[in-house]
Amino acid sequence: MKRLGKNIMLPALLLLAWFIAARFEIFSPYLLPSPQKTFSVFWALLLDGTLARHLAVSLLRVVGGFLCSCLVAMPLGLLCGRSRVLHDFLEPILEFLRHVPPLAAIPLIILWFGIDEASKLVVIFLASFFPLFLNTYGGIRNCDPKLLEVGTSLHFSAWQKARYIQLPAAVPSILIGLQLALGYSWRALIGAELIAASSGIGYMILDAEQMSRPDVVLVGLFSIGILGGLINKVFLRLTLHLLPWQSKADAKL
C-alpha cells in the first residue's frame, strides 16, 4: 500500500499541474487541452471502437514483428554464443547493422517492401533483433565456466552442456533481451506508422495532428504508454514464473 502511494504520487502531481495549467490557460487550449476534455475524447474513442481498432492493429504488428525477430535472433544468438567461428564471421555485418536505426532505413524499407504490413514488420523486426540477439549471445557466452566444468566432470557431451547448463543459465539474460526488444518494437512501430500507414495508433496520432486535435494526440500517447506498461507487467509476471529460483532467493531457509 505504501509502495502504491509512492508509485502514484508523481503521476498525481503531474496531473494536478496539468489541470492547473489548463484551468488558468497558461498554455493555449489548442496546444494543451484540459484533462477533462482529453478524458471525454478518450471515452468517446473507446465507446465508438476507434481506439480499440487502432490499438489492435498496432498490437498485431508488434506481436508479428516481435515473433519473427524471436525466431531469428534467439537461435542466431545461441549459435554465435556456442561457435566463436560463426560469431567472428557475422560480427562485422551485425555490428554495422546495429548502428543503423530502423527509422533511418524506412525510406529504403518502403521502397523494397511497399507501404503495406510487410514494411512495418521489417521495421519492428530490425528494432527488436539486436536486444534479443545480443542478450541471448551474452547469456550463453557469460555462462559461469565453473558450472560448465561440472558438466565435464559429469561426462556431459558438448550438446548436453549447451542444453542443460548454458541455455538455462542464459534465461535471465534472454528475458531481459525480450523485455528490451518489446519496448523497442513499440517505439519503432509508432515511428513506422507515423510515416506510412492508414491504421494503427501511430496513424491515429498523425491524423489527429493534421486535424489540429491535440486531445486525440494525447489520448494516443497515453494509450501507448499504458498499453506498454501493461505488457511489461505481464512480462514481469511471466519472468517470475520462469525464474522461480530467483524469486525465492530472498526466502532463505
Binding site: 566444468e149 566432470s153 559429469l154 556431459f156 548436453q160 542443460y164 543459465a169 522461480p244 532463505k252 531457509l253
Partner: protein, 236 residues
C-alpha cells in the same frame, strides 16, 4: 581399482615463462583406500586432482587405471550447484547425461543419507553452505562413482558443519566400496579422514604417511598429535 601415476607432470605457460604446477610424479593409489593430500596453497594439490579427474591433460607422463577406466566423481571446493534447479534436481543432474540412470529409490536414499529430504524442493539460493555442499556431494554420489575426488570441499564451512560432513563421508567410505582422494589444507582434517596422507610441496609429493588408526579418530590423541607434528614439519 589401482591408480598409477608414472612421471605425471603439468606445466603452465604464462607471460613470465613456464610454471611447474606438478613436477614428474610417480605414485600408486590402492583400491578402496582413503587418501588425503595436504600442502600449502599453490603446492599442486588441486592440479593433481584435476589431472586424475581428466579435467586437465598432463604435459607429460601417464596415468593408468587398472583393471579398467573407472567412473570418477568430483566434488569441487565450492558447491557449484545449478541455481535454477532444486536440491533433488541438482542431485539427479547426472541422470541428464544418460550415463547415470534415475532408478526408483536412488534419489530418496541419497536425500535421506545426506539429511536433505526436508529441503528436496529448495533452491540453492535458499540453502546454507553446509546444505549446498551436501547437495554437491549427493550429485557426485548419484553417479555411483568408483573413485571420488574431493577438492577442499569443506574448507569454507564452519567447524560443526565440517565435522558433520566428515562423519557422513567416513560412513560412506565404510559402507560403500569407494576409493577417495581428498585434498585439504587442514592437517587435522587430513589425519581424521585419511588412511594415507600425501604431503605436497612446490609441485612435488614430498611425503607419504600411513595413518594406521581406527575410526573415529580423536584429534587430541597422542598418536594423531605426533603424526600432525611430523606432517607439519614436512610441509614447512
Amino acid at each position: 581399482m589401482t591408480i598409477s601415476l608414472i612421471n605425471l607432470a603439468k606445466t603452465y605457460r604464462t607471460k613470465d615463462g613456464e610454471v611447474v604446477a606438478l613436477a614428474p610424479t610417480v605414485l600408486d593409489i590402492a583400491p578402496y583406500s582413503f587418501t588425503t593430500v595436504v600442502g600449502k596453497s599453490g603446492c599442486g594439490k588441486t592440479t593433481l586432482l584435476r589431472l586424475l579427474a581428466g579435467l586437465e591433460g598432463p604435459t607429460s607422463g601417464t596415468l593408468t587405471f587398472l583393471p579398467h577406466r573407472p567412473k570418477i566423481g568430483f566434488v569441487f571446493q565450492e558447491p557449484r550447484l545449478m541455481p535454477w534447479l532444486t536440491v533433488s534436481e541438482n542431485i539427479a543432474f547426472a541422470a541428464l547425461s544418460g550415463k547415470s540412470p534415475l532408478s526408483g529409490g536412488k534419489l530418496p536414499a541419497l536425500l535421506d543419507m545426506l539429511s536433505l529430504t526436508a529441503f528436496a524442493n529448495a533452491y540453492p539460493s535458499q540453502l546454507s553452505g553446509g546444505m549446498a555442499q551436501r547437495t554437491a556431494l549427493g550429485r557426485t554420489l548419484f553417479q555411483n562413482p568408483d573413485i571420488i575426488l574431493m577438492d577442499e570441499p569443506f574448507g569454507s564451512l564452519d567447524y560443526f558443519t565440517r565435522k558433520g560432513l566428515q562423519e557422513t563421508l567416513l560412513r560412506l567410505f565404510k559402507q560403500e566400496k569407494k576409493t577417495i582422494i581428498f585434498v585439504t589444507h587442514d592437517v587435522e582434517e587430513a589425519l581424521i579422514l585419511g588412511e594415507r596422507v600425501l604431503i605436497m610441496k612446490k609441485g612435488s609429493v614430498t611425503g607419504d604417511v600411513d595413518v594406521n588408526l581406527p575410526y573415529p579418530r580423536d584429534a587430541a590423541s597422542l598418536e594423531l598429535l605426533a603424526l600432525r607434528r611430523k606432517i607439519l614439519s614436512g610441509i614447512e
